[in-house]
């Protein structure tokens, strides 16, 4: 599609190099950066549906949770050594989650607007409640993931690069998708799904694939985060609507919906703010979160990139009418 501008390659290279060096440049903050990558996946995968396709999901955390549990169960029950079990766990997590999203997608993605949003909200909470009662998954007390066979420093480094890999793969996959027919098709669905159907677009197919892609990367992230935290709680970690679940939405909006860089930026800004200020709030964090959602949604729904774009439209490949006479039109 559109040829990417040079500065985008520079940006990607810059971030990539920095990401590789961070464990040695800022060794004390390695966990924070690991979570930054996780946040980027959250925001990007949410935006795939919410921003690019116009399907605002309140329950994408479902796939994160499925991933976390599936991976942990495989690790617990497979009897393999740590790394083999983890690899197998991540694979199963991704497959299971993708399968669930494909199955659900056929029905749930047929809903529009309010109904889709509330239905996904229900899905996320229902999953948390079911996990919270299911003995096999440790019920309400959750699951503990296996001990990493090695020192703390090594463990941090391992999970840093694991998250970085997931995030990098996710980013480039989405970037490639957005440049292809797929990206334009889901944009068309966002702008007018009835029209897209009337033009013969395979809307169900595109929507389902989009959801599966999101589910795939969320599940991998879920598997990694479960191990990173070392503990999976059904309502506060895996299917936590009030933290990860809304953060996804908030970060994507904050950065700018419907762009590839917006969610990345939003995740970075949100995560940084959170790391800097959250601890000063002593338990009032979630109150602040609620207030923040309201403020951003009401006063800043276009997000940072949307705002920049409004200010300098030409910079973003959006042409301003150069030919006001409308040449051919008056012919």
């Amino acid at each position: 599609m559109k040829r990417a501008p040079v500065y985008e390659y520079l940006l990607i290279t810059g971030i990539g190099v920095a990401a590789l060096l961070i464990p040695w440049l800022l060794p004390n903050f390695i966990t924070q950066f690991t979570f930054l990558w996780v946040m980027v996946v959250f925001a990007l995968t949410w935006d795939l549906l919410g921003g690019q396709m116009g399907y605002n999901s309140f329950g994408n955390v479902l796939f994160f949770g499925i991933g976390a549990y599936a991976c942990a169960v495989v690790q617990r029950d497979s009897g393999l050594d740590y790394f083999t079990a983890l690899a197998l766990g991540l694979l199963c997590a991704a497959l299971l989650s993708t399968a669930v999203s494909a199955l659900l997608g056929a029905g749930v993605l047929g809903m529009r607007g309010h109904y889709f949003a509330i239905c996904t909200l229900g899905l996320g909470v229902a999953a948390g409640e079911i996990a919270g009662g299911w003995e096999y998954l440790g019920a309400g007390s959750g699951m503990v993931t296996p001990q990493y066979p090695g020192g703390i420093g090594e463990r941090d480094l391992f999970y840093y690069f694991l998250s970085l890999t997931i995030t990098g793969t996710g980013f480039f996959t989405l970037r490639r998708l957005y440049q292809s027919r797929f990206g334009i098709a889901i944009n068309a669905i966002r702008d007018d799904e009835d029209k897209a159907e009337a033009m013969g677009l395979h809307t169900t197919r595109y929507k389902t694939v989009a959801w599966c892609v999101a589910a795939f990367f969320l599940a991998l992230t879920g598997g990694a985060v479960g191990n990173l935290i070392g503990f999976i709680d059904p309502r506060d970690v895996a299917f936590s609507g009030a933290t990860f679940g809304v953060w996804m939405i908030l970060m994507a909006i904050l950065g700018g919906k419907g762009t590839i860089w917006g969610p990345v930026l939003g995740a970075a800004v949100f995560h940084l703010t959170q790391e800097l200020f959250w601890n000063f709030l002593f338990g009032w964090q979630r109150v602040a979160l609620g207030a923040l959602i309201v403020l951003i949604v009401v006063f800043f729904p276009q997000g940072i990139l949307g705002w920049v774009r409004e200010a300098w439209p030409e910079r973003f490949g959006q042409c301003v009418d150069t030919d006001r006479q409308g040449g051919e039109e008056t012919r």
């Binding site: 949003a117 509330i118 409640e129 909006i253 009401v298």
Partner: protein, 299 residues
């Protein structure tokens, strides 16, 4: 599944479950009526619906602790929640009334988190209840018990709903509200102050949710996190009943109450919330299947 055997052995338990379910369902229907009102008039799905129920419950508990019987507290609770609803409208909601539905969903979701967490900070996460013992009747040789307070609560729910219905039907403001629901632009042209209509609608909704919360507090238990379940219940009821169908809302509310009570008994209480949310998904999927079979060309 052991509980099914118990049910088979003592079918009289069915009566008990049904009765408790219906009495709870009356309260669900009340909150759902409020949601339908806001949805119909302002075209907003208020995700913070359940939080007003929860706050109403906490106010009732505080009043009860101060020695005011919860039943007497209901009007006061409704008034307080009315003011809160009005305040929230003035601060936030009026900015999102005409914006796209995602913004209103997310903004009310934010309000919901805000209120829920505030309640958690202020009142603590413990389970609370408002004491309002009124005695108990025993039927069928004591096999079926009816706590009078539950009967009273259901009665209050019916009265409150009826009062709201009358208000909408008869009063001038009520007529303005209904006109706005029909067509806001036309109403504006006719000289109706739709902003005031919206403010009243939103505040009224908060008030009846507050009343519902008071009833929950005196018949059952409350804690800061139960709001979302009430939002979802209300949403389900409205989806099943359809907008502007009061009888449907009542029937769906009672039905949901009964269904939930049975499910809670059969599956175990720890799955009751799971049941509600799963039921939501099932209902929405079923609705979509039905619509898909005869998809209407919208707009």
């Amino acid at each position: 599944m052991d509980n099914i055997t118990i049910l088979l052995d003592a079918p009289i338990l069915l009566v008990q479950l049904l009765l408790d379910g219906l009495l709870a369902g009356a309260i669900f229907a009340l909150a759902a009526y409020g949601m339908a009102l806001v949805w119909g008039v302002m075209n907003i799905i208020n995700v913070s619906q359940g939080e007003y129920v929860m706050l109403g419950g906490f106010v009732t508990v505080l009043l009860a602790e101060a020695g005011i019987h919860p039943m007497l507290g209901v009007p006061l609770v409704a008034l307080l929640l009315y003011l809160l609803g009005w305040l929230i409208y003035r601060l936030v909601i009026f900015r999102i009334v005409d914006r796209d539905l995602f913004i209103s969903l997310l903004a009310t979701f934010g309000i919901s988190i805000l209120l829920q967490q505030l309640a958690n900070q202020i009142f603590g996460a413990d389970v609370r209840t408002a004491e309002g013992e009124l005695g108990t009747s025993f039927l069928f040789n004591g096999m079926v018990t009816i706590a009078h307070i539950k009967l009273a609560a259901a009665l209050i729910a019916v009265l409150t709903g009826g009062a709201l219905w009358l208000f909408l039907k008869k009063s001038r403001l009520g007529q303005a509200i209904r006109a706005t629901a029909q067509n806001a632009r036309a109403a504006r042209i006719m000289g109706i102050d739709t902003d005031r209509v919206y403010a009243t609608t939103f505040a009224l909704n908060a008030a009846i949710c507050g009343a519902a919360g008071a009833l929950v507090a005196m018949t059952w238990i409350i804690h800061p996190y139960f709001g979302l379940v009430y939002t979802i219940r209300s949403f389900m009821i409205v989806v099943v009943a359809g907008l502007g169908n009061l009888l449907g809302v009542i029937a769906a509310g009672l039905g949901l109450g009964a269904a939930e009570n049975f499910a809670g008994f059969v599956l175990g209480v720890e799955y009751q919330a799971a049941f509600v949310f799963t039921l939501l998904v099932v209902i929405l999927l079923a609705r979509n299947l039905l619509l898909g079979r005869k998809r209407q060309y919208l707009k």
